[in-house]
Structure formats: structure tokens, C-alpha cells
Symmetry: C2
Subunit: 194 residues, 2 copies
């Protein structure tokens, strides 16, 4: 893949043009939290032009501590004034895991990792039974309903002690089949749960 990336970059850089003079703060002062899924292009589906927004991407677009800290930094250091949480249909980390209950997932991942540690694919041997940090970290990836997940994450961000109450936090669902955003009405009221 190294060569693929080098090839892509060699094609990209010569046509970089005046993008080198884009200002550091995002042009339209908003931040998007969304999933790492390869099919998503937040600059396309939500920005009017490149450099409009800061983009945080993490498995499922979920609002874990690191994502929330990045949101706070985007606001405190770079002046973003509105945040969008965007989860999407056919989410691998969400919907593949949604076939299992939380307990099942924990056991599955724990067993998978423990088995892998003994197998040929190079995993370290580590204790990852239910209750370990690794097992707990997947609890928040197993909620099946998309709108409910968006609302849950908006609420989690809204109630986080470092998050300014004044900042609007919008929730959206993105449909990977047609590129459309659907606003989650319940998630858009500023300060609703604070």
C-alpha cells in the first residue's frame, strides 16, 4: 500500500494550487464528528468547499472521550461554533456488532483476541475478558438503532463537563446509498440536556 499512497500523493500535490494558503481555522467554523468508514466523504456531503470544517472521524462516529476532547479543542483553540454528529447506514462497526448482545460481543471480541494471540496472525497475548478495558470499550458500539445512537451521542456530548452549553450540537443520519443527510430532529436543541 505504501506505493499506492505515494502514487496518490504524487498525483495530488502538483495540482495543490492555492490550497496552501488556506487559513488554519476552518472557514465556516463548524466541526463534524463522523465515522471512519471508507465510503464517507464529509468534505463532499456537508461542506460547501474544502476547508470549511474540522472533521473528527472514529469508529461509528461515536462520542468517546478522545472525540469529545477533540470537539472541545476545536472550539477552544480554533473557534468552531457549531458541531454536527453524523452516523450512517450500513455501518460496519455498528451493524455487524448489532447482531450480538453486549455480553455476546464482549465474549466474542475477547475470545477472538485471545485465540488470535495463540494463532498465526501476530496478536499479543493479553487478558481481555469481560470487564477489562478492551471489553468495556466496545459496549458503546452495539446499539442498533441509528437515530437513537445519534441522539445518545449528542446527549453525551451535551452533558460532558468540558462542553460549552451555548454550542449547538446537531445530529444527522447519512445514507450511504444516496449521499443524503437526514436531520435527527430530537438532537438539535442547544442545551437540551444540560
Amino acid at each position: 500500500m505504501r506505493d499506492d499512497v505515494r502514487t496518490a500523493n504524487e498525483a495530488y500535490a502538483p495540482s495543490f494550487g492555492d490550497r496552501g494558503s488556506l487559513a488554519l481555522p476552518p472557514a465556516r467554523r463548524f466541526t463534524i464528528l463522523t465515522c471512519m468508514d471508507a465510503r464517507l466523504d464529509p468534505a463532499g456531503y456537508a461542506e460547501r468547499s474544502e476547508g470549511d470544517a474540522q472533521v473528527i472521524r472514529i469508529a461509528g462516529g461515536r462520542a468517546g472521550d478522545d472525540a469529545v476532547h477533540s470537539l472541545v479543542i476545536s472550539c477552544k483553540l480554533l473557534g468552531t461554533a457549531e458541531w454536527f454528529v453524523v452516523h450512517h447506514t450500513d455501518c460496519g462497526t455498528e451493524e455487524r456488532m448489532a447482531f450480538f448482545a453486549d455480553e455476546g460481543i464482549r465474549d466474542l471480541l475477547a475470545n477472538s483476541l485471545e485465540t488470535a494471540a495463540l494463532g498465526p496472525d501476530g496478536f499479543h497475548d493479553v487478558g481481555t475478558g469481560p470487564g477489562s478495558t478492551e471489553a468495556r470499550s466496545v459496549d458503546r458500539l452495539t446499539i442498533a438503532d441509528l437515530a437513537q445512537r445519534v441522539l445518545e451521542d449528542v446527549t453525551r456530548i451535551r452533558s460532558h463537563p468540558l462542553v460549552p452549553t451555548r454550542i449547538p450540537i446537531d445530529g444527522d443520519r447519512y445514507d450511504v446509498t444516496d449521499g443524503r443527510l437526514i436531520e435527527a430532529e430530537d438532537a438539535t436543541e442547544p442545551g437540551a440536556s444540560s
Copy 2:
């Protein structure tokens, strides 16, 4: 900003074309961990075409626990086989903070947040003195040297107990003035620190 996003999406979706049929796993099976900075376009600077890679973005592109868990998920559930850690020049969260030592940053952010809680900008009042979770969370954002930061994060990922030793982890610096990636040679050896 809500209207800007809606306008952007209404322009994007009608020309979505056959992107709705992209497969869930990334086409070229690699994952990029990079910064949330508005000026970065990983799909442009590192992918040969849309859908090539999963993209994790977080403040500074730093390898915190949530980012590492996303990398592990990208490998275990979606089959990525190589990872790229890409930090960039003129990084707001890095270089603005690099003017201060760790202790200074902690105090600054803690004081900023405590002051804000008393001021008009809507921050909750919360204990964020040195040693608190919030203060500790910014420790890893204060290393000034870009190549050193990339190497540090590659090493951190490499030595994480959930990360397969077989997976190559490349480190790169991205120059926001010309769109070019510079490979961090020291960071590219698979299994170097495991």
C-alpha cells in the same frame, strides 16, 4: 451553519452516482490516522480513488486509546492490512500548544476552563486542575517536533497489546503548504518495537 450544511448536501447528493454501490470494506485495505484540521483532505492526498481507505481523524492525529481501538476495529472487522499515521505542519492543536511546556498547558487549559465556567461563554464549572482526567488528556498534544511525534505515535500503536504485530504501520508528515507527504523512515519497520 445548519443551512450551509443542508445546502452543501443538496448539491452533493444528486450527483452521488454509483458511489452508493461502494463495498463496505475499504477498496485498498488501508487505514489512515490523521488530524481533524480543516485543510486536510486525506482522500485527496493519500487515496487513488474514493473509498480506498478508512480514515480516522482526531486532534493532532494522535494515537489515543479511542484512535487505537478504531485502528484495531478497522483491521479485525473490516480487514485493513496496513496503517498510516500522518501528522502535519502548522498543526493548531500541536503548534499553538507547543509554545508551552506540559505543566504550563495543563494550567492554561485548566484555568481557561475554570475561568470560562465563571464567564459568559457557557462552560460548566468543573474541577480541571493538574492531575485531573481533562488535564492529563492534553499531555500528549504538546510535543513540538513533528517527526518525533509521528515516531512516538507509531511506537505507541506498535506496542499496544491489541495491535497485531504483523501489520505494517507507516509514519508520514504532511505539508499543508504544498500537499506533499514525507515518509518518516524511522517509523516504517513492521514490528520494530514489539
